[in-house]
Symmetry: C3
Subunit: 201 residues, 3 copies
């Protein structure tokens, strides 16, 4: 139930991010719905396909589609309140990748993958929806801009396995790791932290 709630919250966050990008591009009602849907279920779908969990989770459980439709309607109605579009997009996308990274790590553990694979699966699950959203809306995918993005997911996943070695309840490690991803992403953008330069000029 706990991981399920995290998955639903991540779905909501990514659906809102999809609505924001689609409305900025002035897509019609259906374009907004499709972008929001693809952003929200894109990462989870790829995750389920890679580990062989088919039919994919949002086909087996209708709560995902229902959640996305309600989220899109509410987000469209409240879109005008969101004056600072870029900041809101960043916020919801960051919450989404934090939540989805750890859901992906958990699903990898359930599939009995090695920790390094669980971290890879969590990072892919978290990043893919945003990449698809950006490609369909003709933006440079956020993962390729010169910001710390996937690194935050990987370090969050690593922190989860480290925290699990401490004598704390597993749910605590899960939640703390989510905040590690979110915090790293916020700090990296706030302080303009870049990866080491690999080009000699």
């Amino acid at each position: 139930m706990f991981y399920f709630a995290t998955d639903i919250l991540g779905t909501i966050a990514f659906a809102i991010s999809g609505v924001l990008v689609a409305m900025e591009k002035k897509l019609d009602l259906f374009g907004v719905l499709i972008i929001a849907f693809v952003t929200a279920i894109g990462g989870g779908t790829l995750r389920d396909l890679l580990i062989g969990n088919t039919p994919v989770v949002w086909m087996r459980d209708s709560v995902y589609v229902i959640t996305i439709v309600i989220t899109v309607i509410v987000a469209i109605l409240f879109a005008k309140q969101l004056k600072y579009l870029r900041k809101s997009l960043f916020l919801f996308d960051t919450i989404g990748i934090g939540l989805y990274t750890l859901v992906g790590v958990e699903k990898g553990l359930e599939a009995q993958l090695l920790p390094i694979m669980c971290i890879a699966l969590g990072t892919i699950t978290a990043s893919f929806g945003g990449v698809i959203r950006d490609i369909l809306c003709n933006e440079i995918p956020v993962i390729f801009r010169k910001e710390i993005y996937a690194t935050a997911c990987i370090l969050g996943g690593v922190s989860y396995f480290l925290l699990n070695k401490l004598p704390i309840p597993p749910n605590y490690a899960f939640i703390i790791a989510i905040f590690v991803v979110i915090l790293l992403r916020i700090l990296a953008v706030k302080f303009n932290i870049r990866l080491p330069n690999i080009y000699r000029n």
Copy 2:
């Protein structure tokens, strides 16, 4: 046999639509074949992956690949007769989405998904090939232009479930629903019907 014939007809329609777009972009013989192939099997492949029907249908049954190759050869030979390219493209793409929507709904029912999921599966199956075709040929995907597109698929799927409550043979409901999708799409483009505007100007 009935649904299989519908699947083959949809494959032919989408393959022709792929040839038309690829030849308009002056791709070479192989580029045309690849675009036609991807457009024709793209939707069905995604459908089979999402519900876990692997190996995918066109790998298990060689009639799909053979049909596509023959269709491409014939379409290239007769391409010059098609003076009105945009209208032909619209026609074959529309026939394709009508057929593929209902094939997708049927495959969803076979996989014992809820009706709402069957409609989603049918809409995704019908739209995806055209989206891939347009992206690879550097066009704005038809699903994002301000036309009724996926809505026609959804309403066709809904009509199928409504028609099934009437005392008519199931094949009749299937065929009528296909024509519902096609008719809605033609009417929407002919009368320039748009979705409600969600932006306050």
Copy 3:
């Protein structure tokens, strides 16, 4: 073990091609790693999904991810030695498609697909990584430039089945077929061989 070695060599070749394209686009360290990773496992992932081999091979066996990471680090360090970027890219991409075509054909045979499907699977496996790499790096996918590309894979696959009818060890047929793909590609580019023109001017 033999096919496994071929798969690893193909992974290395495609990872290097990904590093070359990504560094030409001046992506940051993570962008380079992602492009290399997607290019290297993209084709094999699609192959495993199409035939239903899940979890996908690089999730089940960590040697693939480890190989890619080491290859990327070495390739970045030695990138400056590669003065002739376009030629190096062509070389590693060509080696990659030769190796991956035959690995794909073998995996198709293991899945008991018909020869025509094995050739299709091999061609798709070989081409897909490069297509994804080029799309993500905003290049026209190599498969759509007016060069012999997928045709080399198909002819290499066909040669494998023909060679298997000769009284030579199967490994010999496998290796010769790999060189058929590579040689056809090199000859086609060197002598500017094009497919037949399908447009009447």
